[in-house]
């Protein structure tokens, strides 16, 4: 009898671990034919979105390794990147130089923010995710305070086109024409009408190598140990708090670069919304790729970005052809992005509970 329960349990275990990508593949398989998009269009869209979003999603990997869950605090990094972009736009520095300068300016900012975020999360062990989530909202307020009231008053801004008509505060939309697609078009390549942003993919590949290399360094090993069990790691002589802070700092700095890459592709910046969306979409994409709160790999990132954005592109049109209202598809995709995070988080918590039961049963030795 125990054997029978165990096989059913195994199937359940597999389905639970891979539920999210399975649901998404099924949904896409249904929605793509309905939307009537051409294959070439979809391939082009997916390539653009892969180059645009992968870096942001990759920045989430390291805190997961350190057992801190999904770093909703990555929006802090995105904010730092945006401040760098506003400054270089004001100084009128174009192209790759502008982008690199934006990165240089925002790096110290991102380090400080990341350090702050890490220290706060150290005071909220076991509830890192909800804390970093609220921290994102909180810092959004601080960001607004700085950018809406400080810029042009405390921080000198010379370009009047950036400022609101009252003389200080940045406009809702910042035009990034100067660095638009500068990285994407750095090495142009066109195959069969599909243009490929080679340079961006090279940067992303470099970053993947960095993550792989990092896993095997001393620090990377320490992080994994901390992620497994904080108490064991501490008794092994690892400085747990410091390691956790470092993992968040790295993630924040990378999210900052990711946001700069993201925005150079888009070419315009919603000064007060871009970072919030960045966080939500990156996390949803990673989860769609089959990652969980405790384990995420590089393939998860790419599978996730493709599947999530496929749904994103396809659902409004599918909604239009299916029911005759594009608005409906629009709401559907909002529902899917939030629903998927809810499902993934719930499945993870449930799985942890089930795993505990499995471990207990195997200890009993009748498996």
């Amino acid at each position: 009898m125990s054997r029978k329960i165990f096989t059913r349990d195994n199937v359940q275990h597999f389905l639970i671990s891979n539920a999210v990508p399975i649901i998404f593949i099924l949904l896409s398989a249904f929605a793509i034919p309905v939307s009537k998009f051409s294959g070439q269009y979809l391939v082009q869209e997916m390539l653009v979105r892969l180059s645009r979003d992968s870096f942001l999603v990759l920045s989430l990997l390291i805190p997961i390794m350190a057992g801190m869950g999904l770093n909703f605090g990555m929006v802090l990094g995105a904010m730092a990147g945006e401040i760098g972009l506003i400054l270089i736009t004001d100084w009128n520095i174009m192209g790759i130089q502008g982008m690199v300068l934006a990165m240089i300016i925002s790096t110290p900012l991102a380090v400080i923010l990341g350090w702050m975020c890490g220290s706060i999360l150290n005071r909220a062990k076991g509830r890192e995710m909800v804390t970093s989530f609220i921290l994102g909202f909180f810092m959004n307020g601080v960001y607004q305070l700085v950018v809406l009231y400080g810029f042009g008053k405390v921080v000198p801004i010379r370009n009047p086109q950036l400022l609101l008509s009252r003389g200080f505060g940045i406009r809702n939309v910042t035009n990034l024409e100067g660095i638009r697609k500068c990285l994407d078009n750095f090495i142009p390549l066109n195959i069969g009408g599909v243009s490929i942003p080679v340079a961006t993919f090279l940067v992303i590949a470099l970053f993947c190598l960095f993550v792989l290399w990092f896993k095997n360094t001393k620090l990377g090993q320490d992080m994994r140990a901390v992620g497994q069990d904080m108490d064991v790691a501490r008794s092994a002589g690892i400085e747990v708090e410091k390691t956790r802070v470092i993992s968040i700092v790295i993630s924040t700095v990378l999210a900052c670069y990711g946001q700069i890459i993201f925005l150079q592709n888009i070419g315009t910046m919603n000064t007060y919304n871009s970072h919030e969306q960045a966080g939500m979409f990156a996390i949803a994409a990673l989860l769609v790729g089959g990652a969980s709160v405790a384990k995420a790999t590089i393939p998860n990132v790419f599978v996730g970005v493709v599947l999530f954005h496929l749904m994103f592109v396809v659902s409004p049109m599918a909604g239009k052809y299916l029911i005759g209202q594009a608005q409906l598809g629009e709401y559907f995709r909002v529902f899917v992005s939030y629903g998927i995070i809810a499902i993934a988080l719930a499945l993870h918590a449930w799985k942890r509970y089930k795993d505990k039961e499995r471990a207990r049963r195997s200890l009993r030795g009748n498996a």
Partner: protein, 347 residues
């Protein structure tokens, strides 16, 4: 001096700072030509509007389910009730009663499902609750478009189907509760007595419930689940009851809110509504594990007071609208403080 410090320690620094801030706003108001009677009246109205929704936090916190970021779920039940009541064309107090009668069973069902889900994810409730709230709001966006409501006051004029984003309750039950025994004092002061009576009544009900056998068991589950289990309390059942209670209160809360506000906000309207309620109860002195009705009353008053006073006073003071930023920083800062503090006490 020592006694002052002790008092501050007990009340908590953020609360003292916020109270002083609010007090200074009230003091500064006459100097920048903001009418104090109008301000107090506004504060009172908003206090009554939001009170029940803040009260909805209490059962879940007491049962150890954490802060109820899933409040939008209850709000949705309330919205369905309100919209259906208008569809049926019932006016006055009867309309509100109808809305509540429809909303409560829906909220109970949603709360049951939500409670079962939260029982499966013990330890990660708050994050999951947030996203359950978000995704249910997004799901209802689809529903508002599809549900077969017909009243011309509610559907889009040109399409004849799909509910509007904001629906006026004027002509149905605009201020039906507020206006019970309400009075004006001078030109600017309006006291929504009925709404206060209703809020007091709800507080009283919850207070009684918390002192019944079930309520006491619930508190035990929240403060020490292991002890509760060994004392023979069904932990999961208590948690589900608390979640249902919170969700039902959320549904009633939004109806009270709407009748005073005058509009029903659909679609993305309820999206962020959990955060002000969570912030309010925390400002009132609740923690992630313990909340009382006094916390609700104090917190709602302080938080809504700040929300009312900052736009008028700060705007006339420095001639810039910073109220939105202050609201974001105060409410989320308060939640952050509560989340980080509990662990410190524990360890």
């Amino acid at each position: 001096m020592k006694r002052i410090l002790q008092f501050i320690e007990r009340v908590g620094w953020p609360r003292v700072i916020i109270a002083i801030f609010l007090l200074s706003l009230f003091i500064a108001a006459p100097f920048v030509r903001v009418r104090i009677d109008a301000s107090i009246s506004d504060t009172l109205v908003r206090f009554g509007m939001n009170g029940v929704m803040v009260l909805a936090m209490v059962p879940m916190i007491q049962a150890g389910c954490g802060l109820n970021f899933g409040l939008p779920l209850g709000i949705i039940a309330g919205l369905v009730g309100a919209v259906t009541s208008i569809e049926m064309g019932i006016t006055g107090l009867a309309g509100i009663l109808a809305a509540m009668v429809i909303a409560v069973p829906i909220a109970t069902l949603l709360g049951l499902g939500y409670g079962i889900l939260l029982n499966k994810v013990k330890g990660g409730e708050m994050m999951i609750a947030t996203y359950v709230g978000f995704s249910s709001v997004a799901f209802m966006c689809i529903m508002w478009l599809m549900l077969p409501y017909k009243s011309p006051n509610m559907v889009w004029g040109y399409a004849g189907a799909g509910l509007r984003t904001t629906i006026s309750v004027e002509g149905y039950w605009d201020r039906a509760i507020s206006n019970v025994a309400s009075f004006n004092f001078g030109e600017f002061f309006y006291c929504p007595t009925g709404m206060f009576l209703f809020f007091a009544f709800m507080c009283f009900l919850i207070w009684i419930f918390m002192h019944t056998k079930t309520g006491t068991a619930m508190t035990t589950v929240g403060s020490n689940p292991e002890y509760a289990r060994s004392a023979g309390v069904d932990v999961d059942r208590m948690r589900i009851i608390s979640v249902i209670l919170s969700t039902v209160l959320g549904a009633i809360g939004i109806i009270v809110y709407q009748q005073s506000f005058g509009f029903i906000q659909l679609y993305m309207g309820p999206f962020y509504m959990a955060f002000p309620a969570v912030a309010a109860i925390l400002i009132g002195g609740a923690s992630v594990h313990k909340a009382t009705i006094l916390n609700v009353v104090i917190g709602t008053f302080l938080f809504q007071g700040i929300l009312t006073m900052t736009p008028s006073v700060i705007n006339s003071l420095i001639e810039t609208d910073m109220s939105e930023v202050i609201r974001i920083i105060v409410s989320n800062g308060m939640i952050l403080y509560a989340l980080t503090r509990v662990v410190k006490v524990r360890s």
